[in-house]
């Protein structure tokens, strides 16, 4: 009969959060579930060491609480008086963590081996960060817009210069003068509004 202390060197504490994980579908933790746990752990040891001598009896569990947490140790099948060292147990659990979790329909967060941190899945990194792609698209649109506006402005200016040249030719022939003021200066203006004479609201541009 092996005796050991919890918090002992080679013991691990396990904590299950079944209700958190499964909610209404939570199952009762009983002897059979305990049996499954010990069997799964024995499987993990077999897989890790390659020795098919591990059995359910090699895994000893104690100190169960209503939380559903307990301590366990793994005894050496060749020499039941000794325990498998902590590192070996840790590596074994790490190797088969997924299988152990699935046996209980739990995850790394809800089936905790205290002292064995889960290997978190790295987020998938695409070769080119997504944001650069969106940035490239927007940058392309903006650059095209700028170039388009500059070119349009350039063309418009060329057209204006041409029509002004043509107009100058005509103006030299017919220049209308009145009171010494060329009529062109009045074109384009609607006249100057003398506010003293107009009080109509109609003159105001409507909002």
């Amino acid at each position: 009969m092996v005796t050991y202390e919890t918090d002992g060197q080679d013991a691990y504490k396990v904590r299950l959060s079944i209700k958190t994980a499964l909610g209404a579908n939570a199952y009762e933790w009983n002897e059979s579930e305990q049996f499954l746990f010990r069997a799964t752990l024995a499987f993990a040891m077999r897989k890790y060491t390659g020795q098919e001598t591990f059995n359910v009896s090699s895994v000893i569990v104690c100190d169960e609480t209503p939380r559903v947490s307990f301590w366990f140790v793994v005894t050496n099948p060749n020499n039941t008086a000794t325990l498998i060292p902590k590192n070996a147990v840790e590596e074994a659990v790490r190797l088969s963590r997924n299988r152990i979790n699935s046996a209980f329909l739990l995850s790394d967060k809800t089936l905790q081996f205290l002292g064995i941190p889960p290997t978190l899945a790295p987020p998938s990194q695409p070769s080119l960060p997504v944001w650069l792609i969106v940035f490239g698209v927007v940058m392309g649109i903006v650059t095209t817009g700028i170039l388009a506006l500059i070119i349009i402005g350039f063309i418009q200016r060329k057209k204006k210069e041409k029509t002004i040249e043509d107009e100058d030719e005509e103006e030299k022939q017919e220049r209308i003068m009145e009171n010494g003021i060329s009529c062109e200066t009045l074109e384009g203006k609607d006249g100057v509004n003398n506010g003293a004479y107009s009080h109509d609201e109609d003159r105001l541009t409507q909002l």
């Binding site: 939380r67 969106v134 506010g195």
Partner: protein, 560 residues
């Protein structure tokens, strides 16, 4: 001086929309709700609305009248009003330059967050893993995933303002893009930028007054610039009232939205806190999973403390008292609110990518709209200058200005850039604007003459301004602004060395540090550079006039 070929708005609605778009900016979304909360919620509306009516509206009206009458940007307009006061226009342009340089950085951040919204999980929703893939990065664990994304992945902030670090490529790229967008919008000239705009505590009143001033964008010359493209008879009186009311309505609406997000975030944090405490207790004492509920949490704590005092003592330091009130009280201001708090709220909503894209697009639209107003304040006076228009085409001038501001703005993308950004945000356009607005109002009322100004307005819109406007211009607003001025000066002098919030990556939170001497020098420079234009130009004009008089009297004496 009448220009017959000055471009103009296609219709009055375009002008109104431009003003609204300029006035309604990021300040409405984050600063106003923060002030509301700081000063007791809905009660802040009273000083705010009073200040709007007594200070904001009259000043808004004034600036539009000046722009529409003088038909020039701020420099030309003020020189025309009184040759000695041309410095006011220059001071406005200087402030606008400072504003333009740092404000576009906010748009760069909005672009950064927007581009990062197109992912399966939002990058600020989860902490990244450390190199050995067993835990999360400690800086992220200590603070939060949204804090980490903002301080580390967006800004890559250094631990103090002295620690410069290099330029962050992501930020720099986004800043360049923001400037290109601004250039695209302004390219055809700014006239075509119309788009679809505890009461006893004196601090509450002062904050209300200041908020109105800055929210409406007074003193920067942007309103004068916009109004200078109006037809002479545009009814700006109605428009001034409309734009100011729209601006305030937007602030109030934004507060409603912001408060609901505060509530959501506070409730979420409170419930997470309860969950964490519950988990800690059931794990330590190995109780059944659903034995502790939020309503009996306190009973359990006292029971466990009494029954197992030793064991309880080991975890008592980790028990955070969960309090909904204290969660509601934490209000973050400035860039922290817009990016950290809202991104935190968004990550907890369903369809978070959609909300994220919508929210940051909205921020961008507000930010770019305000940027266009700032740019107009600079470009319009530049293009009024005959010298510059002769030698440079419109596109080149605007392009050079954008390039210059972009290059200077790159300094805000360094690792300590956010600290310099805060300096600009707090000092570049606060004190100086108060000074400029005060000089504006005194110049119009007492130097140019209120009677003359009344006649100008009558010429434009057909009737004299109501006596209410005249009282506020000549008495109420100047008194208010002088009061604000005195308060700010006293606050600055008595406050000791100015401090800032630096991010400590080891603790995962901000710590208060003092500004080093050269940073304080920069603060002083920011304040002085704009304000000194006014007396400087007055002095130069005075000297010029004296020289001219001396020349004339010489000619007369030699002729006789």
């Amino acid at each position: 001086m009448v220009e017959d070929s000055r471009p103009s708005w296609e219709n009055p609605m375009q002008f109104v929309l431009a003003c609204v778009s300029y006035a309604v900016g990021l300040g409405n979304v984050w600063r106003f709700p923060y002030l509301c909360q700081m000063h007791g919620g809905g009660g802040f509306l009273i000083p705010y609305l009073i200040m709007l009516v007594v200070e904001g509206l009259p000043l808004f009206y004034l600036e539009l009248a000046i722009g529409q009458h003088m038909r020039q940007g701020s420099i030309g307009a003020w020189s025309a009003i009184n040759p000695y006061m041309g410095g006011v226009g220059i001071a406005s342009v200087v402030v606008s330059i400072f504003l333009t340089i740092y404000y576009n950085v906010i748009n760069a951040w909005a672009f950064w967050y927007l581009f990062h919204s197109f992912q399966g999980t939002l990058p600020w929703a989860e902490c990244p893993l450390s190199s050995n893939l067993t835990t999360y990065v400690p800086e992220c664990e200590k603070s939060s995933s949204t804090d980490y994304f903002w301080y580390r992945e967006t800004l890559n902030i250094s631990s103090s303002i002295e620690d410069h670090g290099g330029i962050q490529m992501g930020q720099a790229l986004c800043l360049v893009l923001s400037w290109m967008v601004v250039y695209l919008c302004v390219l055809r000239g700014t006239e075509a930028t119309g788009k679809l705009s505890d009461l006893a505590d004196p601090k509450a009143w002062i904050d209300a007054a200041t908020q109105i001033l800055f929210s409406l964008g007074l003193g920067c010359g942007s309103l004068i610039a916009f109004a200078s493209y109006n037809h002479h008879n545009n009814n700006f009186e109605k428009q001034a009232i409309v734009v100011s009311l729209i601006n305030s309505a937007t602030s109030i609406f934004a507060s409603l939205v912001t408060f609901s997000i505060y509530g959501f975030k506070a409730t979420f944090n409170y419930e997470s806190c309860l969950d964490r405490t519950q988990l800690l207790l059931i794990n330590t004492f190995d109780l059944t999973e659903d034995s502790i509920k939020p309503d009996n949490l306190d009973d359990w704590i006292s029971h466990l403390n009494a029954s197992f005092p030793d064991k309880f003592a080991t975890i008592s330091s980790q028990i955070e008292g969960c309090d909904l009130e204290s969660e509601l009280d934490t209000a973050v201001e400035g860039t922290g609110l817009a990016f950290i708090v809202y991104s935190e709220a968004i990550k907890n909503m369903g369809l978070s990518q959609l909300w994220s894209v919508l929210y940051f697009s909205m921020l961008l639209m507000l930010g770019i709209g305000s940027m266009l107003g700032n740019v107009a304040a600079i470009i319009t006076p530049l293009r009024d200058s005959a010298f510059l228009t002769r030698h440079f085409r419109k596109e080149t001038l605007i392009g050079m200005m954008c390039l210059f501001c972009c290059l200077v703005g790159l300094s805000f993308t360094t690792r300590s850039g956010n600290y310099w950004f805060t300096i600009f945000n707090d000092y570049a356009a606060t004190f100086s604007l108060l000074f400029i607005v005060l000089i504006e109002i005194i110049t119009i009322c007492y130097v140019y003459g209120l009677k003359k100004f009344e006649k100008d307005i009558e010429l434009m819109i057909g009737h004299r301004p109501h006596w209410y406007w005249k009282i506020t211009w000549s008495v109420v607003s100047p008194v208010l602004i002088i009061g604000l001025f005195i308060f700010y000066t006293a606050d600055y002098i008595m406050g000791g060395t100015p401090t800032y919030q630096a991010w400590d990556s080891n603790l995962g939170k901000t710590v208060t540090k003092e500004y080093p001497p050269y940073a304080q020098a920069v603060i002083g420079l920011l304040l002085v550079t704009s304000m000194i234009c006014v007396p400087l130009v007055a002095l130069i004009t005075f000297i010029k006039k004296k020289k001219e008089q001396a020349k004339e009297s010489k000619i007369i004496t030699t002729a006789t």
